[in-house]
Amino acid sequence: MAAEVIKEKSMILQKEMIAKLFDDLSSAKDTGKKVVYTFVPGNLSELIHAFDMLPVYPEINALQSGMRKQSGSYIRDAEKFGFSEDVCTYVKCDIGMMLNGNIGPTGKKLPDPDLLLLSYTGCFTFMKWFENLEQLYPGVPVAMIHTPYQEGGKITPEMTEYMVKQLREDVIPKMEKVSGKKYDETKLKHILEDAAKTEDLIVKIFDTTKNSPSPIDAYFAGVYYIGPINIGFRGTPESVEYYTELYREILERVRLGLGPVTPEGEVTERYRLVVEGPPNWTSFREFWKLFYDHGAVIVASSYTKVGGLYDDGFRHDSTRPLESLSEYCMNCYTNLNLPQRISHLKKCVTDYRADGLLVNSIKSCNSFSAGQLLMMRAIEEDMEIPVGFIESDLVDPRYFSYSNIKNRLDSYFQMLEQRKIITKEIKQNIPAQTGI
C-alpha cells in the first residue's frame, strides 16, 4: 500500500461546499435565510433551493456525531429523556444533540428550523421522528408529504397524482408562507436540469466499479461520494462541478489501473463484494479496515441508494417538475418492496461481477433490516454465491462489537478464498473450449 494519501481536487471541492453550507446555516438568522429540517431519503432539496431556503438533515447530524464519537452520550441523554433502548438510534442521537444545544459538525450551533418538512420515504420512523421534533420546536410549521410504498413493484399514476397533489396543496403553500416567496416553476426547472446532470454523473461514477480492479470502493468511499447529492446540493452547479471532477479523477485511476484509495493508501483488490445495509459510523475506520486488510472491495451497495436510486434510469425531469420530484421520492431504495430489493441486489452482483454479497444488518433500522435474512437466503439459493452476515448499529457504539464482526468477516473471507480456489481448479480442469 502507498504510504500517503494525497487530497484530490474533488475532496477539496466537497470540503468547501460543505463548509459553506454550514457557514450559511450558522449565519442564517442574520442573513434572513429560512431553514428547513428534512430527511435524506426522498429529499425535496430542489424545491427547497427554489425557495432559497437552507436544508438541515437530522440523519446527517446523527452520522456526523457518530463519526465524532459523540453519539454515545447523545443517545444516553435521549434515553434519560424517556426513549427506549430498543428504538432507532439515529433519532435518539439527533434528539440528544438537540438537548445538548444542537451544536453541528463544525462546532457551531445549528439554527432552529423555520419549517419541518417531513418527506418520509421508505421508513415509518421518520414520521415518529418528526412528531417528536414538532414537540421540541413547538409552533414551527410542519409540511408533510406521504410517499406511497412501491408495494406492487411499480409506481402507478395514482401514486404520482397523490404526491403531486400533496406538493401543490400542502408543501408548496407552506414553503411560500415560510420563505415569503412565490413558487417559481421556471426556477425549479433550471434546478432540476442540474439535478439530472448530477444524477447522470453519479451513475457513471458508480459504474466504474465494473472495471477490474475497481477504481473506487462503492461503500466506504461511496458514502463520501453521495454526500453532496444527498445533503442538498443535487440541483446546484457546484454539485455538477464536483461530480464532473470526481468522475474525471476516477477515470484517471481506471486508466492507470489503480484500485480504491483507503485511509492507508491504495488497496489491492482480492474480493469484489456487494453490500446491503448502512455502515457503522462510530467505528467507521476500523470497520473499513476489516475489509481492505483482506483486499475486499465493495463494488456496489444498496445504502448509497437510499437517497435516490438512479441506476434504473430515473432522472429528475424539468419538463415534469412535480411529477418527477414525486417519482424520485417513491424510487428510493428502501421504498422498494422486498422482491424489488432482491432483484436489485442480484443485478448488482451480476453487473459488477461480485464474488459475494454481505449484509450489514443494522439494529436501529427496521426499514432495512426486517426481511433481510429472507432476502439473503433467496439470493444465496438463486445465485449460489457466498452470502455473509454481520450485525452492528449506525451510531450506537454499544452495538459495534469489533471482535464479533472480525470473526464473522474472517470466516466469510475464508469462504470466499476457498471458493476462488475451487473455481480456479474447475477452470483448469475443463479443457479449453474449441468453439463451434
Binding site: 424517556g82 401514486m159 400542502d170 422486498l338 427496521n366
Partner: protein, 393 residues
C-alpha cells in the same frame, strides 16, 4: 347459550391458530373467500360485501413454539412477525386466499414482501393508508386502495359487489362497534362484571367469525353484564396503551388485573374499534367514500397514524378522563418503534395533566410476570394509598 359457554367458545376460537372455524365457514358455501389481515385496522366491510370473511392474523402469541420464525428475524425485531411467519410456513394459513398488510410500520410493510417472496396466498396487498387527511387528496388515494383490494377479491371469487351490499356490510360492522362500545361503557361503570381477560377473548373471537354471529355474541354478553353481577373490589382503574399491534399474552392481562387494577380501556384489539361512531350516508352516499371519510376524520388515535399538535397525547388524556381512570399503563412490545416513540410524547402530556402512569415492555410470548406484577401492584397501592380517589359522578 349461557354466558360461560359463550366465553369458553370465544376462548377457543380466539387462539385457534389453524383458523378452522373460518375455514369451515368457507367450505359451507361455494365462492366464499377468506382474507387474512395483519394489525391494526382493515375495513372488513369490503370482504364481507364480497362474500368473504376477513380474519385477523394477530401473531401466534404464547401458543406456538417459534422455530422457523426466529431464523427469519434478527433478535432486535419485535416478536409478532416471527409468529406470523411460523404460521405461514407451518401451513396454518393455507386456505386463506389473500393477505392484507396495513401500513403501520416497516416490519409489517416488509413482512408483506416476505409473503410475496414465499408466495403465500393468491394476493398480497400492502394497504397504504393515507397519512394525508384531506378528503380530495388522501381520500382519493385511499379509495383507490380500497378498489384495488376489492378487485383482488372479486378476481378470485367473481363476486359482484353492489353499493347496497356494501351498505349492508357497513351497517353490520356499525352495529358491531356500537355493541363493543356499549360493553366498554358498562365495564367502565362496573368493571367487576366482566374481566378484561373475558372481554379480550370475546373481541378477539370476533376477528375470526362472521360479523352477524359476533354481533349475537356481543348482545348476549351485553345482556349478561347489564345484570347486577359480581362484587366490586378495591382496585384502581387503568387505561392500557401501546399494545395496538403485537398482542400482550393473556397471562399479562390477567396479571395486571390481579395486581390491583381494573382495565377499563385499552388499545389491544383496536382494529375492531378503529372508526369512532357509525359510517353513514352523512359521510357520503357512496359507500367507499363513506368508509374513506370515516377513516380520515374519525380514526382512533394510534402510533401508526401521523399526528402533530399533540393530538394523541390529548386524546389519551381525554380517554382517561372520560373513563375516570386513576392511571395509565404504557405497555409496549419490545422493539416496537411506533409505540415506543410515542410513549415519551404521551407521557409528557400525562405529566402535564397529573395523570399517573407506569410503563413496561413485553413480548407476545412473555412467560414471566413476576416483575410486572410487582410493578403494577406497587402502582396500584401507591394510587390507593396516596391519591385522592377519583370522584365518581
Amino acid at each position: 347459550m349461557k354466558i360461560e359457554q359463550i366465553i369458553n367458545k370465544c376462548k377457543e376460537l380466539s387462539f385457534d391458530l389453524d383458523f378452522s372455524y373460518a375455514k369451515n365457514w368457507k367450505q359451507e358455501k361455494p365462492n366464499r373467500i377468506l382474507v387474512g389481515f395483519m394489525p391494526v385496522y382493515f375495513p372488513r366491510e369490503l370482504v364481507h360485501a364480497a362474500n368473504g370473511l376477513a380474519i385477523g392474523i394477530l401473531g401466534s402469541g404464547d401458543r406456538k413454539q417459534i422455530i422457523k420464525g426466529d431464523a427469519f428475524y434478527q433478535s432486535y425485531i419485535c416478536h409478532i412477525p416471527r409468529g406470523i411467519i411460523e404460521l405461514a410456513l407451518d401451513g396454518n394459513l393455507d386456505g386463506i386466499d389473500g393477505f392484507i398488510f396495513p401500513s403501520i410500520c416497516d416490519v409489517i410493510r416488509n413482512l408483506s414482501g416476505m409473503f410475496k417472496v414465499l408466495k403465500k396466498g393468491a394476493f398480497i396487498k400492502y394497504l397504504d393508508y393515507p397519512q394525508n387527511f384531506s378528503d380530495k387528496t388522501g381520500g382519493t388515494f385511499y379509495i383507490n386502495e380500497l378498489k384495488h383490494v376489492l378487485s383482488e377479491i372479486t378476481k378470485i371469487n367473481g363476486a359482484e359487489v353492489t353499493d347496497e351490499m356494501l351498505w349492508n356490510s357497513i351497517c353490520l360492522y356499525n352495529k358491531n362497534r356500537e355493541l363493543i362500545e356499549e360493553i366498554y361503557d358498562i365495564k367502565q361503570q362496573y368493571p367487576w362484571r366482566l374481566s378484561m381477560e373475558d372481554l379480550y377473548h370475546v373481541l378477539r373471537a370476533g376477528m375470526v367469525m362472521p360479523v352477524e354471529e359476533h354481533n349475537r355474541i356481543l348482545e348476549e354478553v351485553l345482556d349478561s353484564i347489564n345484570a347486577n353481577i359480581g362484587e366490586p373490589m378495591d382496585k384502581i382503574r387503568v387505561v392500557v396503551t401501546g399494545a395496538f399491534c403485537e398482542q400482550p399474552p393473556i397471562g399479562l392481562i390477567k396479571t395486571i388485573e390481579m395486581a390491583g387494577c381494573y382495565i377499563i380501556d385499552d388499545d389491544f384489539l383496536s382494529g375492531s374499534r378503529w372508526i369512532q361512531g357509525n359510517i353513514t350516508t352523512d359521510d357520503s352516499n357512496d359507500p367507499l367514500e363513506a368508509i374513506s371519510r370515516a377513516y380520515l376524520t374519525r380514526s382512533r388515535f394510534s402510533a401508526s397514524v401521523y399526528s402533530i399538535g399533540d393530538k394523541k397525547g390529548k386524546s389519551l388524556v381525554s380517554l382517561a378522563r372520560r373513563r375516570r381512570a386513576d392511571g395509565i399503563i404504557f405497555a409496549a412490545p419490545s422493539f416496537c418503534d411506533p409505540a415506543l416513540f410515542d410513549a415519551p410524547m404521551l407521557q409528557k402530556e400525562c405529566d402535564g395533566s397529573d395523570l399517573r402512569y407506569i410503563s413496561f415492555q413485553y413480548s407476545e410470548n412473555t412467560g414471566q410476570y413476576k416483575v410486572i406484577k410487582e410493578q403494577v401492584g406497587a402502582f396500584s397501592d401507591s394510587i390507593k394509598l396516596w391519591e385522592e380517589p377519583v370522584i365518581n359522578n
